[in-house]
Symmetry: C2
Subunit: 400 residues, 2 copies
């Protein structure tokens, strides 16, 4: 290993953050001008490092090390959420680049397109592992302005490019570095998260049906207030879920809609988006069973029937044990005692890579646990230490 250069890592990250700079973060939506400029810049950096690099037909950057392998696949993503942080994605890409430079070979580097979902859901990594069919590409469109994905690919000159696909036998493993996006590491003064699994997300649309009526003339006893039915259900969820959840489970009500939504009308219909996340299917089963039980109790009086629609039920992606051990060994060498094994509460491209090769992830601390906001940050010292551990771990994976 020719040596990790943390100064170079920080300089590259800062240069990358100039593409779409927004306050102290970046605004770099997928296929925007600044996003394409960042992708081309990254291709240049990979070529400087001796890789054969290009942008493929779905927008992913792929840098291929000389030779037939086996190699370690590294990377993350380059685009950002709207008006968001400078490290969410870029950190893992530049760590991959640094590993390629430091190890002088045996390291491929990818920047998977649109992890942040401006057009779809993990289209870059899914395309690579063969889980993005052509007809889904036909259907996808920008969630903000409706531009079809095909149109966007044509506009940025990628419409005729082939898509890079998984090449059996080439990669021993995938290792993705990322900011934690929570405060688990920071709150315990730890520096490296060794990811054990990427949580599953179980998503529901829960609807209460009542009777729309006049808020002045309808007595409290006569009402069938659909909004109140959901509020009462959420009160029970709030009381009961801590008992059935696991220590790292999270549950979130992201949206509540009362219809028709006027001050003087009793809501006749109410709807909410409700989500569970955990790395353990047994815990998810328990929480879902509790949700159904609470709805069943609520429905016993029958005044405002509540219905649960399952919108998605993913499986947790388990990270490879041997790779976790390799990261731990790198931690023991560079930052002894400063790591924690933990699940990832957020989705990452590694969950798709794990379908085709041993995969793992490594986290660095997020200041204040802030994420998806332009104030997201990680200290220079933690970024530098993370680069040392990451490159050491990649070297260990390559050597085994």
């Amino acid at each position: 290993m020719s040596g990790v250069d943390p100064v170079r890592v920080l300089r590259d990250l800062r240069e990358l953050a100039t593409f779409g700079a927004y306050k102290t973060g970046v605004h770099r939506p997928t296929f925007s001008e600044v996003d394409m400029a960042a992708r081309r810049w990254f291709v240049g950096k990979l070529e400087e490092a001796g890789l054969e690099a290009r942008i493929d037909g779905i927008g992913s950057v792929f840098g291929r090390a000389p030779g037939s392998g086996p190699t370690i696949l590294t990377g993350s993503h380059l685009e950002s959420q709207n008006h968001a942080g400078w490290l969410d994605g870029p950190l893992g890409c530049i760590y991959g680049l640094e590993a390629a430079r430091a190890l002088g070979g045996g390291v491929d580097v990818a920047a998977w397109c649109d992890e942040e979902g401006h057009f779809g859901s993990f289209i870059g990594s899914r395309s690579f592992v063969g889980a993005l069919p052509e007809d889904e590409i036909d259907r996808l469109a920008n969630r903000y302005d409706g531009t079809p994905l095909r149109t966007a690919l044509e506009r940025v000159g990628l419409g005729q490019e082939p898509r890079i696909a998984f090449e059996p036998g080439r990669h021993k493993a995938y290792l993705e570095a990322h900011i934690e996006q929570g405060d688990t590491l920071e709150s315990q003064d730890l520096k490296i998260g060794v990811v054990t699994a990427i949580v599953a997300i179980w998503q529901y649309r829960i609807t209460a049906s009542g009777e729309q009526n006049h808020a002045g003339t309808t007595s409290m006893t006569r009402r069938r207030d659909a909004g109140l039915a959901l509020v009462r259900l959420l009160g029970e969820v709030d009381r009961r879920f801590p008992d059935v959840a696991g220590p790292r489970s999270v549950w979130t009500t992201g949206r509540i809609t009362l219809e028709p939504g006027a001050a003087s009308i009793i809501p006749g219909r109410a709807e909410m988006l409700f989500q569970l996340r955990d790395a353990d299917p047994a815990v998810l089963d328990r929480m879902q069973a509790e949700l159904h039980a609470l709805v069943e109790v609520a429905n016993r009086d029958g005044r405002c029937p509540i219905a649960i629609e399952v919108m998605g039920q993913s499986r947790p992606a388990l990270m490879d044990e041997a790779l976790q051990d390799a990261v731990e060994a790198a931690v023991a060498a560079k930052a002894p005692g400063l790591s924690l094994r933990m699940p990832s509460g957020a989705g990452h491209d590694a969950q798709y890579l794990a379908r085709v090769m041993p995969s793992s992830m490594m986290f660095v601390p997020s200041i204040g646990g802030i994420s998806h906001h332009w104030t997201e940050n990680t200290s220079d010292a933690d970024i530098a230490l993370g680069a040392e551990v990451y490159c050491d771990a990649v070297a260990r994976m390559l050597a085994t």
Copy 2:
């Protein structure tokens, strides 16, 4: 009194319901073509009854009995809520017309414009009592399509018409008939509601401020979920309000908005519209004090500060006691034992007329308590009985 003709009342109501017929109800927004046709039709009916009638510069129909008075002022409104019922408003107008016909003099009839608030709030009756300044008319616009009120008045040919104003000394009293819009009468097999007061509406915007964050990476203990803060507050309101409210108090949460409103983002801000109604200011004070107390308790942990903004605090409009007695006397003559003194939970033009003359209201039953929906209805027998009682009450008021 030359005699009330219930058949004529029902025939007129049915003819009026053909203007903008929608299923078994009507869709007759203020100043729509069907609405203006209904107003012109009503002018014709008033003229047939011997009144001098016209549509004034704010859109109200006013039929003036021959002579200098004193007279009894009757009426209600002609436009409907969108896709709503056929009797909400028209009942009181046709009862007024019937009283003018039956009594053969001494009865003025008004159809106050836009009681349903397509452009503003009670603009017809407020204009009449001198509570609608020119600069408010300048500002008002259609709440659905934004058309300025001035433009709408020009389009329907009323832009240059004078506004009819209260004429001191002419009217002894105002009596407005209306459907109940609730099920109080129906549930007790009663036929006439003698309105004691029109409730006050106290309206609040309640806002919780938390921290927008990632729904996967932010632990339950670290979260500052603004939506959950409002759900918990509403749970306490649900538990506590029955103890502090009066027997007829109502409280309603008509809208809840979580920001940004996405499945995977913890709401950083949450807002709701909350409303109290009661005819007794002391009860309203008690409920408001409880609301403030619950918010104060919620704010003790300081994680998601909750703020209350008062959007409106009207006063209840007390109905004249002597007029209530006149209606009761008519009930004793036409439907003995079948009346109930009750407040109106909905707002009505009578609350503005009460500012300038003794005013009262009389309710007939609503089938199933349904209102502001095209299925709103009242039985023919109840409409007929209501007309008898109403005209008798007007005669008694005129005679005293």
